[in-house]
Structures are given as structure tokens and as C-alpha cells.
């Protein structure tokens, strides 16, 4: 019950982690099934229809229901601690963010049991995604448009919440140029969410109107435009890539710096590069559309703009390498993932520059070369980053250390499996294998490499299983992690107990420089100087409303999808009822008095 009503950012972070992790396993299972289907030519493990559902759901699930929530998990768990805040700016909204994401995610996956999941690809290109091309799967894409709209609310309010938190709730002395890099990336990511997600929502609403009410946004015969969807989708979709990868950059910056006992090399250029990447992210969407026929002028402009992203990214790569340079590097699991991340991400980055060259993209586009590229970026970048961050902050989130041996097994199986799976796919693409193919003919020369790729996917699966075992076995152990378990912690989250107490900081710390905790340590102190006297701490009250509100949206979505307008309206009434109730109830929260301040972390 506690977990259903919580508004504590650390618990919401854990909720995000559990549900994001669950969807990661679902998406992973879908990936394994895809790879089983493709392990030999003309295989019949799944039917063509099922295959298209699998590939659509794999992409959608991994991006929206696994990667983003796990990013939100880390951001929720860590950002307020890193800036010396007691919670996020709007704890109640934060809970709404989680529950709407969860409702949307569950709704999307319900489609498996009601006659077919969405099958038009995660990009859901029209006209294939319009109701004229449903085949036997009438409601598949409805789940996509409604589920993602509901989940999108969660992401958007979450992003706004982090912007407000980072702008307003930094501890005294924590200027922007003293923000830890993970917080910086969380900040830029949130800004990207703020600008990119409304575009997706607009597209989804338009597509929903086309599908449910026979509007004509994308129906060419009635004056609509099919390419319009591509523009709307990628104006969201390209920044989305950076929404995903920037927090991973942040994690790597923290981990590499901690485990080499050195401050981050070129901090200000890192910040500058992050902001620049965020800006350029919005300028390059049409590089997904070089073959759409936008003409040579558009293609050259978007080619060059895309190539430019390599510059700030390169700055980051070399800054990380020079953070390690001259350091005293300790190879914990977290750092293994971070050090593995750097060359892997470079490989994803250089193929990105190759793809940016439009005439060459007439060949790469929609082939396995692209599949290899974005998996290098998203799995080799984001997922390695997330694994690194999870191993790094696990003691702070749960009060327990993860087992290092199991952690190293996780790393090696996942890392080697990953390269085995995706490296060969570059060649498959260049040899003529298009992406999103349910099967391929015998004798085209694709057989061996596909087999290798499937073996690699199984190794990645094994790596993930080791991680799960690690979680389960560590959960049985006592919560005895030290405040600063890696001993070289540099930022504020390591100054408080593991796991963090409900109120985070008994007294808000005074920040006197970059890497605030490290600075104090170097001056021989073992704690931060408080910026305020010990006093009662104001806390927000828990509330069940966010959960009910999202259930309302869930019911409403289902109702409209199946044209039971009454059900739809009831669902929306529940949602608006919750909002109305919330604005009527005068809730001042409660206080934790100074004499209660000496125990317990968050009960995880």
C-alpha cells in the first residue's frame, strides 16, 4: 500500500526501475524470438504477422517502456540527491508521471491478448498504420496510439518536473557550473523531452483521429499527406535518441571520474558539448528521410548538420579518455561497463557519421546496417550506461552492494554477446539484407552471419540473467552498504546514508565548489558543512490519487478504442475527478521533527 501512494522520489525511482526492468525483459524476450526466427533462412518459428508484431513491440517497448523509465529511475533516485534537494519540485506530479507511464505500458501490452499487437513498426509509418491496412488485426495500432499517449503524459510531466527541480532546488552554492554532469544531462534531457514529446503527442492524436474517427490527416485520397507523419514522427524521434543517450553520458562521466579518482577532464567543455548536442538534436530529423525524396538541398543541409553532431560527441569521448589518463583506475563492474561503453559508443558514432552522408544512405537506409548502428548507440551506449549506473548507485538506492563476481559475469556475457550480435549486422546490411524482414531466402549469403547474430543474442540474454541473479541474491543480504561505499565518491549523494533517508538531507549542505564532497574530503573533513540549522522538515503527504487517475486513463483509452464511448467517458471522468479532488483538498503535508532524524533510509 505504501508503494501505491508514495510521492517520495526515491521510491518512485525504484518503481520506475522495477517496471522499466520488467518491460526490458519483455522487450528482450521479443528480441530473442526475433533472432530465433532469423537464425536460419526461410524459418517458420513465427508467422509473418506475428513477426511484424514482435518487431514493432520490441522497438516500442524498448524505447518507451524500458529505456526511458530506467533513465527516469536513475534520474529520480539520484538527481535530487546530487543537487542537495529533499525531493523533486512537484512530488505529487512525479507520482502521476510514474503511474501514467505504467498505465500506458500495460495498455500497450494488453494488445497481445486481445487479438494482435501493433504491427506497423515502432515508427508506425502511415498508410500502413492507418485503419485501411489492418488486415485481421483491427485494433493493433490503436493500442500503439492510445498507449503511447498515456505513457507520454508521464514522460512529459516527469521532464517538466526535473527542469523545475534542477532550476529551483539546488543547495546553496550549487551553481549551474558546479552541477554534477549526470544532473546536467538530466537537465538537458528534460528540456529535450519538453520540446520533443508534444510533437509526438500531436502526431499520435492526429493518427488516432484518422483511425478512430476517420479524419484525413494522413489519408492521401482525401487531401492528407503521408510524408507529414514521417516529419512529425522524426521531429520527435531524433531528439528522442538524445533524450536516451545524454543521461548515459552523464552516468559515464560520474563513474569514470569516481573510479579513476580524478575530476572530470574538461568539465566546462563537457557541459558545452551536452548543450550543443541537445540543440543539434532538433536540427537533423530529416536524416531519417533521405530516401523519402525531399530533394538535394534538404538532403545536403541535413547531411552536414548531422555530421556536426560528431564534434561535441568527439569532445566528450576524448574528455572521458583523458579523465582516465593519469588516474588510478579501479575496475569495478560499474567501471567495466563505463570503460566498455567508450569504444562501443565510438563505433556506433562513426557509423552514424557514415549514415549522415546522404548518397551513401541511399544504400544503408532501412538495411541491417542501420539496425547495427542504432543498436550500437542504444544498447552499446544507453544500456551499457544504465548497467554502469545501476551497479554504481545500487548501494545508494537499496543499501546493499551488488556482488562483483556476478557483476563481472554480467558484463562479459552482455558485452561480448552484444558485439557478436550487432557487429556482423553491419555486413548483413551492406550485403543486401533489408531490415524488418520476417525471413530471408536461402542462398543469398545471409545465413552464417545471421546464425552468429542469434548466438550473440543468447549470450546477451545470459548476461541479463546473471544480473537478475545478482539482484535476487543481494536482496537476501543485510542492508549494510556504507555511506560512501566506493570510497572515492565525489558528489553529494555519497554524503548521506545508504539508502538515503526519507528526507535526504537532515540539513541542506553548503556547496563550496565543483565535486562538493570531494572538495570537503580533500580539506580533511568527512562531512558537508550544513547551510541551515537543524529544524523540522516539511514533507508532502502520500496520495492514492495518481494511481486512480492513471487507471481512469487506462479505462478511458480502452473504451474509446473499442468505440464504447460511455466507458471512455467514465474513464475520463475518473481522471478529471482525481484532478478535481486534488485541487479541492487542502493538504499541507507533514513535518519530521529534529528528534526523529536519526534513523532509517527509504525502506526498499
Amino acid at each position: 500500500m505504501d508503494w501505491l501512494t508514495t510521492v517520495d522520489h526515491k521510491k518512485i525511482g525504484i518503481l520506475y526501475l522495477i517496471s522499466g526492468g520488467f518491460f526490458f525483459l519483455v522487450g528482450g524476450l521479443e528480441a530473442i524470438m526475433i533472432r530465433i526466427q532469423l537464425w536460419q533462412p526461410e524459418n517458420h518459428f513465427v508467422s509473418a504477422d506475428t513477426y511484424n508484431e514482435l518487431l514493432t513491440m520490441h522497438g516500442t517497448t524498448m524505447i518507451f517502456l524500458a529505456a526511458m523509465p530506467m533513465i527516469f529511475a536513475l534520474m529520480n533516485a539520484i538527481v535530487p540527491l546530487q543537487i542537495g534537494a529533499r525531493d523533486v519540485a512537484f512530488p505529487f506530479v512525479n507520482a502521476i508521471g510514474f503511474w501514467t507511464f505504467f498505465a500506458g505500458g500495460v495498455l500497450l501490452n494488453v494488445s497481445w491478448f486481445t487479438g494482435g499487437a501493433p504491427d506497423a513498426g515502432w515508427t508506425s509509418y502511415v498508410p500502413l498504420a492507418t485503419d485501411a491496412f489492418n488486415g485481421g488485426n483491427v485494433h493493433g495500432v490503436d493500442y500503439y496510439v492510445v498507449g503511447l499517449q498515456i505513457a507520454g503524459i508521464g514522460t512529459l510531466v516527469g521532464g517538466i518536473n526535473f527542469l523545475a527541480t534542477i532550476i529551483n532546488m539546488r543547495a546553496p552554492g550549487m551553481s549551474f557550473m558546479r552541477l554534477p554532469l549526470f544532473t546536467w544531462t538530466a537537465f538537458i534531457t528534460s528540456a529535450l523531452i519538453l520540446f520533443a514529446f508534444p510533437a509526438l503527442t500531436v502526431g499520435l492524436v492526429a493518427l488516432m483521429f484518422d483511425r478512430l474517427f476517420h479524419a484525413n490527416f494522413f489519408e492521401v485520397s482525401n487531401g492528407g499527406n503521408a510524408v507529414l507523419w514521417e516529419h512529425i514522427f522524426w521531429i520527435f524521434g531524433h531528439p528522442e535518441v538524445y533524450i536516451l543517450i545524454l543521461p548515459a553520458f552523464g552516468v559515464i562521466s560520474e563513474v569514470v571520474s569516481t573510479f579513476s579518482r580524478k575530476r572530470l577532464f574538461g568539465y566546462s567543455s563537457m557541459v558545452f558539448a551536452t548543450v550543443l548536442i541537445g540543440f543539434l538534436a532538433f536540427m537533423v530529423w530529416a536524416h531519417h528521410m533521405f530516401t523519402t525524396g525531399l530533394g538535394p538541398v534538404a538532403n545536403s543541409l541535413f547531411s552536414i548538420a548531422t555530421m556536426l553532431i560528431a564534434v561535441p560527441t568527439g569532445i566528450k569521448i576524448f574528455n572521458w579518455l583523458f579523465t582516465l589518463w593519469g588516474g588510478s583506475i579501479r575496475f569495478t563492474t560499474a567501471n567495466l561497463f563505463a570503460v566498455g561503453f567508450i569504444p562501443t559508443f565510438v563505433m556506433g558514432g562513426v557509423t552514424g557519421v557514415m549514415l549522415a552522408s546522404a548518397p551513401a544512405d541511399y544504400q544503408y537506409h532501412d538495411t541491417y546496417f542501420v539496425v547495427a548502428h542504432f543498436h550500437y548507440v542504444i544498447v552499446g551506449g544507453l544500456i551499457l550506461g544504465l548497467f554502469s549506473g545501476l551497479h554504481y548507485w545500487w548501494p545508494k538506492m537499496f543499501g546493499r552492494m551488488l556482488n562483483e563476481t556476478l557483476g563481472k559475469l554480467t558484463f562479459w556475457f552482455f558485452f561480448l554477446g552484444f558485439h557478436l550480435t550487432f557487429f556482423v549486422q553491419h555486413f548483413l546490411g551492406l550485403m543486401g539484407m533489408p531490415r524488418r524482414v520476417w525471413t530471408y531466402l536461402d542462398g543469398l549469403g545471409f545465413d552464417d552471419l545471421n546464425m552468429i547474430s542469434t548466438v550473440g543474442a543468447f549470450l546477451m540474454g545470459l548476461g541479463t540473467i546473471f544480473f537478475l541473479i545478482n539482484i535476487v541474491t543481494s536482496a537476501a543480504k543485510p542492508r549494510d552498504a556504507a555511506d560512501d561505499p566506493w570510497e572515492d565518491g565525489r558528489t553529494l549523494e555519497w554524503t548521506i546514508p545508504s539508502p538515503a533517508p526519507e528526507y535526504n538531507f537532515a540539513q541542506t549542505p553548503l556547496v563550496r565548489g565543483y565535486d562538493a564532497y570531494w572538495k570537503e574530503k580533500m580539506e580533511g573533513k568527512n562531512a558537508m558543512t550544513p547551510a541551515e540549522p537543524l529544524g523540522p522538515i516539511h514533507m508532502p503527504s502520500p496520495s492514492i490519487l495518481p494511481l486512480i487517475l492513471s487507471i481512469g486513463l487506462f479505462i478511458g483509452g480502452l473504451g474509446f478504442m473499442y468505440h464504447h464511448t460511455i466507458v471512455g467517458i467514465i474513464g475520463l471522468l475518473i481522471t478529471f475527478g482525481c484532478l478535481f479532488t486534488r485541487s479541492l483538498i487542502d493538504d499541507h503535508g507533514f513535518h519530521i521533527e529534529p528528534d526523529e532524524l536519526h534513523d532509517k533510509g527509504v525502506k526498499a
Binding site: 568527439g314 543486401g432 543469398l444
Partner: protein, 347 residues
Amino acid sequence: MMNRWRVLKRLLPLLAGMVLLLSACGRADLSVLRPQGPVAEEQFKLMKLAIIIMVIVVVVVFAIAFYVIVRFRRRPGDKTIPKQVEGNHKLEIMWTVIPIILLIILGVPTIQSVFGLAKDYSKDPNAIQVKVTGHQYWWQFDYTKLGIHTAQELVIPNDAVISVETETADVLHSFWIPSLAGKTDANPGGSVNRMYFKAPNTGVYLGKCAELCGPSHALMDFKVKVVDRASFDRWVAAMKTPTPMPSDPAVADVLTQQCLTCHAIDGTQGGAFPNLAGIGGKQAVAGILLNTDSPKYQNEGTVEDNLKRWIRDPQAVKPGAKMPKVDLTEQQIDGLAKYLASLKLNY
């Protein structure tokens, strides 16, 4: 400085080796890495340039990473605190400027090529004008100036520019001939996309649909058959000759009533369904059932067998295909397959 050049000199043969290795990858009639025409060659040249630049970048990063990992690992019991370096402006400027230079090296030929490949041959009287229409899940080729229509096999001469206009009859498709020309999307309505290519070497090249277009997207293959000019002219003439009806009246009856309601068998007739003129002489039935008796591949058979397999149950070959399962007796299927297999054009 000397040292650096020596390293580079040692790297160059390695890079050259890699390029050679790449160019041996895949089938010559399918692989992007073994271009068979000027357009694909130009694209491959850009790729090679990009790959060389990128391999250099990757090697440099890997070398630094490897050195750092080995050289600076913490020894057990080491409590020393390394110097806290804030940054280094010279270094940071260096790794900002070098990528920019590399990007210029890649960017200039990219732009030249973008405009070069956008050249419009649709008004060129010497070019072969082909309108390509993507359907779920087959390709229609209309030779607009020659007045002939065919499906699944694009026959072209080896001495002319082929000017292609892509359209779609339903959802998005993407027209892709890897070893000749790259790809262009077929957008519904309004926007018409154009591309051109040349194919100097005679032979058959494999083409594919590259945009997810439904369950049988994976099976939407076609062939490009490049022949010399004389042979092409003969083909055009043969396509314009009316196709004879089956001699067996029973088969003729079935053909007229069941097949010709949708399909045409004369090369001069267009239509919304595949034109059957010369179908017995094509490389494959339905684009994927190979007409060969070599048992090397899983999807092989004689033309007649393949036609039977297709007519009996099109959905089993291409799930979601528009062709219905027609109610025919085995005898009727045999008769039709035999007749269709005999439709070969002499060219």
C-alpha cells in the same frame, strides 16, 4: 611528428586490406560492396572514404583507451590521489578542430554526390523511362514511352540511362537495387520520386523492397535483367506481340474466367495486377520461387512446379498477398501452369 607518420604508414596497408575484404563481401548481384554500375560505384566510393576516416578514428580511440586502461590501473593498496586536472584548452581545441577537418573531407564529396545523383533524366529522349509502382507485394514496371508493361522483372538495355519514377498503389515501399543504384521511397499520392542508374554489365541483379509494407514485406523481391541493346529491342517487340491463348479450350476457359478478370497476358496492357506476358521465362515465380532445378536452395523448382505452388495457395507463399485462393481442380491448375510456363519471350 616523424613517429606519427610511420604509424600511419603502417596503418595504410591494413586499411587497404580491409577495403579489399569488404569488396569481397556478398553476392555480386546483390551486395552494396560489389557495385556493378556507376551510381552504386559512386555511393561505394563515398562509403570507402567514410570507412577509412572512421577506421582511423576508431583505431586512435581504441589505442588511447587500451593504453589508458593498461597503464593507469590501480595497484592493490594504492592510496595515492592523482593530480586533479581541470582540463587542457590546447588538447580540447585539438579534438574539436580535427573532427571538423575530417567532416569537411567527407562533407564536400557528399554534397557533390547528392546533387549529382539528383539529376533528372525524365526528359532525356535517350533514357529508358520506367514508372515503377510498388504493390503489396510485387512490383509493376511501366515503360511509359514504349507502351509496354511488366511485373517483377525489369528488363533494361546495358547502354542507356534508366530513368525511374517511383509510385505506390497502397502503402510506402522502397525500391532498392543494391548493386546498381541504392533506393528511393515510393510515396502515396502527390510526390513523385525520381532516380536514375546505368547498368553496363549484362546479367541479372536482385532488387528488394526496403520499407516495411506488411506481412510479406520480406518477400517483395524483384529482378533487374540487363541485356544488350539488340536483345532489348527484340524483347520490346516480343512484348508487343499478342500472347496466344491456350490451345486446350478447357484451359482457355479457366484462364479467361478466373485469371484474366484481374491479370493481363499481353505486354501492352497495364492494370492493377501483375502482367503475365512472358511469365514462363522469368527467373522466379512471385519474385521468390526460383525457377531452377538446382537443389541448392530451399525455394527452388521448375517454372511449372512453382506456378502450381503459387496458384494452389498464394497466401502460403506470400502471407497477405492480394491474390485469392481460386477454386480450381488439380487438373485445371496443371493445365494453367503448363500453359503459363510455356509463355516465354524470345529475345
